[in-house]
């Protein structure tokens, strides 16, 4: 199999910083990965580890003040970062589209959802307004909005949170993109709605065969939806592996900690294990491994220098333990 053929998105040594001069804070520190056609990559991490910033940079949607300082983002071989404004506009929404965390604020409050769907379709295709409307109705039905035709003329405030996220999904999928970037799409929703939305995304993703970058802090979701997992910590990729591999044999102490803190019906603990301490605030990182201050297995080398990303049979880990384990050989 030629991996290159199937790669729809490849991120190479991506670095993103906020601010400039002495206040400059790097939040994404040399992230690299490849996304194959039809596959789902989950990017996991705690708040502030650079997940969302990384997602926004894929479409060059970073807020003012944030800047991509290094690296390349290749969509089917095209460098996204060097595209012209018009080429970038055509890419957004049509080839690569995005769903955001908070459906309550992600739709324009004073325009009907119909007009917001239709304008998306019209921005990328030459069909008539009526055709676009018909398409919007079909999409809304597909994502499970009833009475779609009448509801086209309603405003976001007339929908519930779950319904709004369904509308966001319809909007993201209306041009059959090859990549969907979902930035914590279920975090702001009730648990029952979370499951529905997740199921919907999964179904639509499988049906259309699009690839997805799924950003979450919820490992339970990861097991459900992802093919591959990338764990972020302090802006670094600390572990990356196929989903079964990662759950079966997590190598990084942080990943183990995360998996250990999952609630399980089989175990009978009274206390849920947790990782001691807090993730590093951006800009406070010292030399060495970013996880060192919280790591149960920390030793001198961890504090002295940052471990490289070791790769063993496709399983990547940024931890000196890996090297230590293999030393006797």
């Amino acid at each position: 199999m030629d991996a290159r053929e199937d790669t729809v998105l490849s991120v190479e040594e991506l670095r993103v910083s906020f601010g400039s001069g002495p206040d400059r804070t790097e939040v994404v520190r040399g992230l690299s990965y490849r996304l194959q056609k039809g596959k789902v990559l989950a990017v996991v991490g705690e708040s502030g580890c650079g997940k969302t910033v990384h997602a926004l940079s894929l479409l060059k949607l970073l807020p003012p003040g944030a800047e991509i300082t290094e690296g390349r983002i290749l969509y089917r071989g095209k460098d996204v970062l060097s595209l012209s404004a018009e080429a970038l506009r055509k890419l957004r929404g049509a080839e690569m589209s995005m769903i955001f965390q908070d459906p309550m604020t992600s739709l324009n409050p004073i325009r009907t959802i119909g007009s917001q769907l239709v304008e998306t379709i019209l921005a990328h295709s030459t069909c008539s307004k009526l055709q676009a409307q018909a398409r919007a109705v079909r999409l809304l039905k597909k994502v499970g909005i009833e009475n779609a035709r009448q509801r086209l003329n309603e405003y976001p405030f007339q929908f519930s949170g779950g319904q709004r996220q369904r509308i966001m999904i319809a909007m993201a999928l209306c041009l059959n993109p090859s990549i969907l970037i979902a930035d914590e799409p279920t975090t702001a929703l009730d648990v029952t709605i979370q499951a529905q939305i997740l199921k919907l995304i999964k179904e639509l993703q499988r049906q259309s065969g699009m690839a997805a970058v799924f950003i979450t802090h919820n490992l339970a979701i990861v097991a459900d939806i992802a093919d591959e997992v990338l764990v972020l910590y302090g802006g670094y990729c600390v572990e990356q592996a196929a989903v079964e591999e990662l759950f079966a044999a997590p190598k990084h102490p942080y990943t183990r900690g995360l998996l250990g803190s999952l609630v399980s019906l089989k175990r009978k603990e009274t206390h849920l294990p947790a990782i001691e301490g807090y993730p590093p605030a951006p800009g406070t990182l010292q030399a060495g491994c970013p996880f060192a201050p919280r790591c149960p297995h920390v030793w001198d080398k961890c504090r002295a220098s940052l471990p490289p990303l070791f790769e063993r049979q496709g399983h990547k880990v940024r931890c000196w333990l890996v090297e230590k384990d293999e030393e006797p050989r």
Binding site: R89, S97, F100, T105, N108, E119, A123
Partner: protein
């Protein structure tokens, strides 16, 4: 919605009653002799003072006198304005359209340029366009209106002769009062178009330019500021990011999405400014010798023309309530989340 409007309109008589009674009560602090003497032009007729007092019942108690005024007002008789030498209702009919015309042109200029500059200023934050817009805005704030008015008059009339003062030129005056010119609305800008008389239209417009520009400046500065900050706030919101992520052209993101939300506070501001323009264009009307209602009000106050003052205040109160109502209703047109509840 209809019920809301009706309820607000029910408030109108209350406001009008309150304002007029308060003013009437104040004028009663003057002795009946003083008030009667205002109607006597010739010092030799001073002997008729008592006669006037008796005739108009100036010694009756406040409520009785106010009741008489109110009764007249309800029948369309607001009394005789000795400062304008005509009945008050006729004075309002004659001067108000000119002021409304001026206020409408001004508010259109203010909103159009204010919103435009505000949007550019926000989108190009800290670039030269923003710096320019902010400088103009600060300048507009700090420039006294009469200084600007006189300067404009000196340059554009005194030196260049482009925009003369007054409401219209003599030839227009003749034309307007000729039997062939039909007065449909009392607004010369509209009437001239309805009569198909473009000469009158452009003449009136030409006389409007300087007062409108002068009136603009202060409100424009405020409008730019409000629009800029409102726009900056909207541009940082999630739905704007969504609009960009959908691949909309930047123009659509700015105008169709952020702009439409950012304009909501501007509507309230424009409403307030418009009402202020209707009642308070005195300085500008005086500088440009513009035949508007503001000058009528001031002259009435200066000459203690009680009927004139009462009529003017009543008119301002009514316009104020109506103006506020209109801006509230406009709100619902822009923002679907606002429902005027019954």
């Amino acid at each position: 919605m209809l019920r809301y409007i009706l309820r607000r309109l029910l408030l109108l008589p209350l406001v009008a009653l309150g304002v007029t009674f308060l003013l009437f009560f104040l004028t009663q602090r003057l002795s009946p002799e003083m008030r009667a003497s205002l109607y006597i032009k010739d010092p030799r007729q001073m002997g008729a003072l008592e006669e006037v007092i008796q005739k108009y019942g100036l010694r009756d108690n406040v409520f009785k006198q106010y009741g008489r005024w109110l009764n007249g007002a309800l029948h369309g008789d607001l009394g005789y304005s000795h400062s304008a030498n005509m009945p008050v209702s006729q004075a309002i009919k004659e001067y108000l359209p000119a002021t409304i015309q001026l206020a409408v042109v001004t508010i259109i200029l203010v909103v159009f340029f204010g919103v435009w500059f505000g949007v550019v200023s926000a989108v190009k934050k800290d670039k030269w366009q923003d710096v320019c817009a902010r400088l103009i805005s600060v300048g507009g704030f700090s420039l006294p209106i009469f200084v600007l008015g006189l300067l404009l008059l000196m340059v554009f009339y005194g030196k260049l002769g482009w925009f003369p003062p007054g409401g219209y030129s003599v030839s227009t005056d003749v034309m307007v009062h000729s039997p062939s010119f039909h007065s449909y609305t009392g607004f010369l800008l509209i009437d001239s178009l309805l009569n198909g008389n473009l000469r009158v239209f452009f003449d009136v417009l030409r006389h409007l330019v300087l007062p409108a520009v002068t009136l603009c400046i202060g409100s424009f500065a405020l409008m730019v500021r409000v629009m800029r900050s409102s726009m900056l706030e909207e541009l940082g919101k999630d739905y704007v990011r969504t609009a960009r992520a959908k691949g909309l052209p930047e123009r659509a993101v700015i105008y169709r999405h952020a702009g439409k939300n950012a304009i909501i506070p501007v509507i309230t501001l424009a409403g307030i400014q418009f009402i202020r323009l209707l009642g308070g264009t005195v300085i500008v009307e005086t500088i440009f010798d513009y035949p508007g209602i503001g000058r009528f009000g001031v002259t009435a106050a200066q000459q203690l023309d009680i009927a004139g003052i009462m009529g003017f205040s009543l008119m301002v109160a009514v316009l104020f309530v109506l103006g506020n109502l209109v801006s509230d209703v406009l709100y619902t047109a822009v923002d679907p989340r606002i429902k005027l509840s019954d």
